[in-house]
């Protein structure tokens, strides 16, 4: 597996990376996916909500093994306790079990012919004549040189590989949310088929608290606050603990079964998502909805578009920046005007 040259190497086996890999494999090109973690899908950095429309547009059929709770609407609460209850209609969405969902996406890519390696940390690219030609990766204490004609960086918010190419994926505190979440069991929720969103500067400055039910008294209970407004004693964890303490009617008998944290890129998507033989997708490219901070759907669409453009570029025999820019054009056509309106 390690010694051959691939058409495409994808760094990161999250939703963006696996969508890209599946699409490249469907285009009859060889693809290797590297993930630095020993288990795909964990730890989760996500509230796990997804729109049914997005799954349909990606041709993914919801499966009760990972689409574990059907969502019909959302209830938004103001600081004074008023609430607005909305119905999303027949389409609605799902709360996912992302650990299973990500493995499912990887499985679909593998069934199409993609190869995967886990516990393999790709930190640097190989370069030749100004073109990215593969990656250097650590696997079980050994340094590998893996060659490819295109590298797709889907390595998340802490992306290293794009920076090595010279694409600045950094975030700043003014545009970056500090996130914290408990998955809890034993909640007393009135409506388990709705998302519950709590707003207020005292509850979550420049962000919100969410309760995304997974059914059977379980839910993701999380918070995002603006990074700039985080400080000792007033961090995401502190705000969330205070919120939970102030709602005994929901949380009196609840306990955490998992803790998660993470950073959410809320600024504009990258100016430059491509280089010669190189593409960036998902969180690494700041593909996040700036209103609600959701990223799965934008990331998966980016992965699919990148996979299509990579396949077409390989067919043409032209993997230059100019050729791969088609990915950024299509992505921006689909999302940029929408996102810019929101900002």
């Amino acid at each position: 597996m390690m010694n051959r040259e691939y058409d495409v190497i994808v760094v990161g086996a999250g939703p963006a990376g696996s969508m890209a890999a599946k699409t490249v494999a469907e285009g009859k090109h060889s693809v290797l996916v590297l993930d630095k973690k020993q288990e795909i899908g964990t730890p989760k950095r996500c509230a796990e909500g997804i729109n049914a429309r997005v799954l349909a547009s990606l041709d993914i059929k919801p499966d009760p093994r990972w689409a574990i709770n059907n969502i019909r609407g959302a209830v938004c609460y103001s600081p004074s306790g008023n609430s607005v209850n909305t119905d999303l209609g027949a389409m609605g969405g799902y709360v996912l079990e992302r650990k299973i969902f990500e493995k499912h996406l990887a499985t679909q890519a593998i069934k199409k012919g993609a190869r995967y390696m886990v516990k393999t940390n790709a930190r640097k690219v190989l370069k030749e004549n100004g073109f990215v030609k593969g990656v250097k990766a650590d696997y079980m204490g050994e340094e590998l040189e893996l060659k490819s004609r295109i590298v797709i960086a889907a390595d998340g918010v802490d992306s290293k590989i794009a920076r090595d190419v010279g694409i600045d994926t950094k975030n700043v505190l003014e545009d970056y949310h500090s996130g914290f979440q408990y998955e809890m069991a034993g909640l007393k929720l009135e409506e388990e088929d709705k998302l519950h969103i709590y707003f207020g500067e005292k509850i979550a400055p420049k962000g919100y608290v969410w309760i995304f039910p997974k059914g059977d008294s379980v839910a993701n209970v999380g918070i995002g606050i603006l990074g700039k407004l985080s400080s000792d004693g007033n961090r995401a964890i502190d705000y969330l603990d205070r919120f939970i303490g102030s709602h005994p009617e929901i949380f009196q008998n609840a306990s955490p079964i998992e803790i998660n944290a993470g950073g959410v890129p809320m600024g504009s998507p990258l100016e430059d998502m491509v280089d010669n033989g190189f593409m960036v997708v998902g969180d690494a490219a700041h593909h996040v909805n700036p209103i609600h901070g959701g990223g799965i759907s934008l990331a998966m669409e980016a992965g699919m578009i990148a996979g299509q453009v990579a396949s077409e570029a390989l067919d043409r025999g032209d993997v230059s920046k100019k050729s791969l820019q088609e990915y950024q054009r299509r992505w921006e056509d689909k999302f940029d005007t929408k996102l810019k309106k929101l900002i």
Binding site: K36, K37, Q38, P43, R45, K119, N121, R123, G156, V157, D158, S159, K160, R163, T169, K170, N171, V172, L173, Y176, S178, G179, F180, G227, K228, S230, S231, D232, R235, A236, I237, I259, N260, A261, G262, G263, P265
Partner: protein
């Protein structure tokens, strides 16, 4: 000063990595690596950390 990680508190989410202006942080599988030669002590990661696992350490 340089940034340092309290490994008992860290959730290894990697959120701090992307706001480091000098690329001094890296998420390995279950820990954050701080390159003390590269860290300029700006404190961005310390402010951001959702759980307060990063702190100032004298060089």
């Amino acid at each position: 000063m340089v940034a340092s990680v309290d490994r008992d508190k860290c959730m290894y989410c990697g959120g701090c990595v992307s706001i480091c202006p000098t690329d001094a942080l890296e998420l390995m599988e279950t820990f954050i690596k701080v390159d003390e030669d590269t860290c300029v002590g700006c404190g961005s990661c310390i402010r951001f950390c959702p759980v307060g696992a990063l702190y100032e350490k004298d060089e």
